[in-house]
């Protein structure tokens, strides 16, 4: 499903270069649940961002479903992203000017789905927010916002779901509920799941743990 080879990411700024990811090669099969762990600054989020095509690597290749994304033109990448990838951010990143249901509908609308709003309503009901449809992000609690974000990420039934510390901004009870939600959806939809976290408990609920340190793969083990 995801094939990464010799992936390197260097950023230049303030006169010197920083190597964020250093020659990473990984293979992630379909439907696998993977945790990416590592200390702050180890390159976890960068790796996830590159897989989502949010930025271009300095060198190396990333293939999703056999398609090379590192050289894809921006507009092609945008379309590819909305079909293949769902993304959940640590800080939710809902669009503040849109209501909950509109936020969820955005990717569906972008794909030209005429039933976008109905589907979005269904999705929100499924994550338990049937009574919060027309609320704006500021009117929702953190947990509720993240559940909207999860619904949004799953809206187009993407084969790959990327979650970047989805519980990082939530208290433990709320966080657990969001994780349950993600895992349920993963199970129901057969999604490949990559989850960045630094919580050992959460990592333990995955099938595989990839540990990064200083931009390199320090450990890669299958568990459970």
């Amino acid at each position: 499903m995801i094939a990464i080879s010799h992936l390197t990411m260097r950023l230049s700024g303030g006169g010197h270069q920083i190597t964020v990811l250093d020659d990473i090669t990984l293979e992630i099969p379909k439907k696998q649940r993977v945790a990416i762990v590592g200390p702050s600054g180890s390159g976890k989020s960068t790796l996830l961002g590159l897989i989502a095509g949010l930025d271009r690597p300095t060198s190396g290749s990333i293939k999703l479903d056999g398609a090379e994304i590192s050289t894809m033109p921006e507009s092609v990448m945008a379309r590819f992203r909305r079909e293949k990838i769902g993304y959940v951010f640590q800080s939710f990143h809902l669009i503040p000017t849109l209501t909950a249901v509109e936020n969820v509908a955005v990717p569906l609308e972008l794909s030209g789905d005429v039933t976008a709003t109905d589907r979005a309503v269904d999705l929100l009901r499924a994550v338990g927010l049937g009574d919060r449809l027309d609320h704006y992000p500021v009117q929702l609690s953190g947990g509720e916002q993240q559940r909207v974000a999860v619904a949004r990420a799953f809206a187009c039934r993407p084969p790959i779901l990327l979650a970047d510390e989805p519980t990082g901004n939530l208290d433990s009870v709320t966080g657990a509920a969001v994780i349950d939600l993600i895992l349920n959806l993963h199970r129901d939809h057969g999604t490949t799941l990559l989850l960045v976290t630094h919580e050992a408990d959460l990592a333990g609920r995955m099938e595989r743990i990839i540990a990064l340190r200083d931009g390199r793969v320090e450990k890669d083990e299958l568990i459970g």
């Binding site: 950023l11 230049s12 700024g13 303030g14 920083i18 964020v20 702050s40 600054g41 989020s45 960068t46 961002g49 989502a52 095509g53 949010l54 930025d55 921006e74 507009s75 945008a78 379309r79 590819f80 992203r81 909305r82 079909e83 993304y87 951010f89 640590q90 800080s91 990143h93 809902l94 669009i95 503040p96 000017t97 849109l98 509109e102 955005v106 990717p107 609308e109 972008l110 794909s111 030209g112 949004r152 970047d164 510390e165």
Partner: protein, 913 residues
Amino acid sequence: MGFAVRMAWREMRGAWRHFFYFFSCIAMGVGAVVAIGLFASNVERAVTREARGLLGGDVEVRVSHALSEVGQTVLQSVSSRGVVLSHASELVAMAATVRPQPSGLVTQIVELKAIDINYPLYGSVKVDPSRAVTDLVAPPASLCRAIPESHGPENLPLASALSPVGRGSGEGETCYGAVVQESLLIRMGLSIGDRIKLGQAQFVIAGVLKTEPDRMANMFSLGPRVMISRAGLEAAELVKLGSRVRHRYLLKLPASVPVQPLLYELRGRLAGESARVSSYRDAQPQLKQFLDQLARYLGLVGLTALFVGGIGVAMTVQAFLKGKLQGIAILKTLGAESRTIAATYLLQAIVLAAIGSLAGVALGIGLQTVLPRALAGMLETDLLDQVEFSSTLSTASLPPILKGIGLGLLTTLLFTLWPILEVRKIRPVMVMRRAFLASEANPAKLSEGRRIGLAAHWPRLDLPKLLTAAVIVAGLAGLAMWQAGSWKIGLLFLAGLLAGVSGLLLGATGLIRLLKLLPVPRIVSLRHAVGNLSRPGSQVAGIVTAIGIGVMVIATVSLIERSLVQQIGEKRPADAPTFFFIDIQPDQAQGFARLIHSRTGEPAPQLTPLVRSRLHSVNGQRVKTEEDGEKERETKDEQRRSWYFTREYVLTFLETLPKDNVVTRGAWWTRGQAFPAPLVSVEEEAAKHLGLDIGSTVTFEIQGATITAQVSSIRKVEWGNFSTNFYMVLSPGALEGAPFTYVATVRVPPQDEVSLQQAVVAAFPNVTAINIGEVLDSFARILDRLSLAIRAVALFCVGAASLVMVTALAATRYRRLYEAVVLKALGATRGLIARSFAVEYALMGTVAGVIGIVLASSLSWAALRYVFDLSWSLQAGLLLIELLAAMLLTLAIGFLSTYRLLGMRPLAVLRQE
């Protein structure tokens, strides 16, 4: 597209308040353009509707002498076809009081018009008391009897001997009446029922003239109108051989007689009369052209206001998008393409522009009901009343309204395309800037994403951007040409505007550079002001450009006006004459010279003989005098050329070369030279346009007779020297036997002006005294009114500029607020913060003002040099005032938009952080 529409709506629904400045900026400019456009279209409509009234008939035959018997017969013959004829004579004359006022005899130059019983053929003359004007100029005997007997004969023996007025015996004696403009009553201290003397006759003032349909809408007039009967004119004995008078024979055609054939017939049959025959259709272009040009120039000033507003729009969009960075990045992570997002924001811009334009149209409609009254003051005659102008909207109002909306939309598009294109640069990774970029420390990348809008540097070969730039420039040019109605003026306007904007942008960046180079000031408030100005993303450039353009427009107009007034008025040569006395008859010449000599003590004034003529043929080729009404003359050059061929030439003969004349080719005749055939010396420009060279022959037509002269020299003439100057000077003896009159220039000290004029009018009632000082004063008044009108529209530019500044400050409001409270938390006083704001605004205003007046000086220099052919002089006082005004304006606007920040409590603000 569907997504873009939905997103655009969702984004706008909660943000109306943020867009207030956006549509205010557009509304301001569109309002100005629409108001001017509506006014112009209403005037044109009224003028077209009243075309016959403005000419005074369907056809006009105009001659500078009474028609010959043959000519009279021609007109009589057409009247048998049901054509109604009216004869009006117009001339300049002197009016005098009959009863001496405390200050002595009051004399006043007037524009006299003698009418017959059929006047007016079209339109209506409004008079107070409201009776037919023809009745008032021939008042009933009762009114004449009412005049007391006591005055007259003793005081004015000559007049009483010749005039039947005031005898009051009621034995069927003629009594003359006059209808006058109110200004005459005011200037001469008279009221209805009083009498005035014109030439050799006395007239009872029977009414006040309110509107006169066919008084040509001149900006310029020598004096108030006085209307009398033809019999009255005859009795006044003002029209003598060679007098300066305009005879207008007006024809009203019955429906059965078409205009055009009759026009051609009359042109043919009256060819020997030096007559100008025109139809009501031909008479319009002049007036229309004047109003058209005025509307166009005012329109360009309006367009400038719109462009200044465009800067505000660009800034609003820039600030708005800055706040949307995160949202845009999120949309991109969700798979939205740049194109879709750009479309979303472009749609919003269009919707807002449409709302702004509609508000502008409403503003324009409101203004155009006020504007006519303001502009009407520019014309000496009340043109608007004359044509029964109304501000009501009609289908003809649609084009200017649609044009205003079009201009609003296009301007918005032009000014928002660039910032919106920057959307493409936002990368989806921006969404993780806190988690990703911030932690992994890459300020360079972050700022790249942040750099949105006009401040962004030119990317290498960014094709869409280059295309957009080209579209923007082409669009601006198109808009300017559309408004100017001429590609040449449009391009000139755009070139001036672009030069102005680049000058201002350079100045603004120069200021920032300079501030960075200077050592950090020690005074805290100064340090903060400088910091605010030179920080990255400061709004200095936009504010300075907007305010600077406003200053530039207003200062240019006032500089040109001031220079013109100075050059023609104050810089008059010391030996410039006080009076031109015209229409001195040959038999009055000696007596006139004696009178002047005895009154002034100076040697007798030089009398210059004048003969009125038209060109008959040039080098044997007959000059076509009839105007081709249907064919529009395309270029200005052609118009000018035709003017040289068809104008009236005042001829003279002189022994010596007039003062300030320089012979450039050929030679002036020598003393004692014999002239077997007449020679003529031609003015340079006239020679060029008429195609004359040494040896060419010119034939003049003087009241039916012709005289041919050979060109012996070409002269350059200093027209501005306040002497009698001539296009054509003939050799001595050439005009023997022609009906000439004399003109004299006389110079007296100011305190003797009135008494000299009184003496001349008393002794020679037919001689008209034109006071140069008064003429120049009225010219200055016209300039003043014109300049005022343009400056009034220019105020829209300043209004738009102020809005831009408010917009810019609103965009930085949060940053300022945050800074202010942090400073306060650190112990700064409210006064210190206020001072630092003041220094910042004043600096911006000063830079904008300085560059604005420098630009205005160069623009006015160019205009004076190339358009008016005058030299430029530094107007230090005026420039200083403009500069000060610019500074105070920025200070005032700055404070009005930010004073509330000063009172904020730190804790309340910081807690929100």
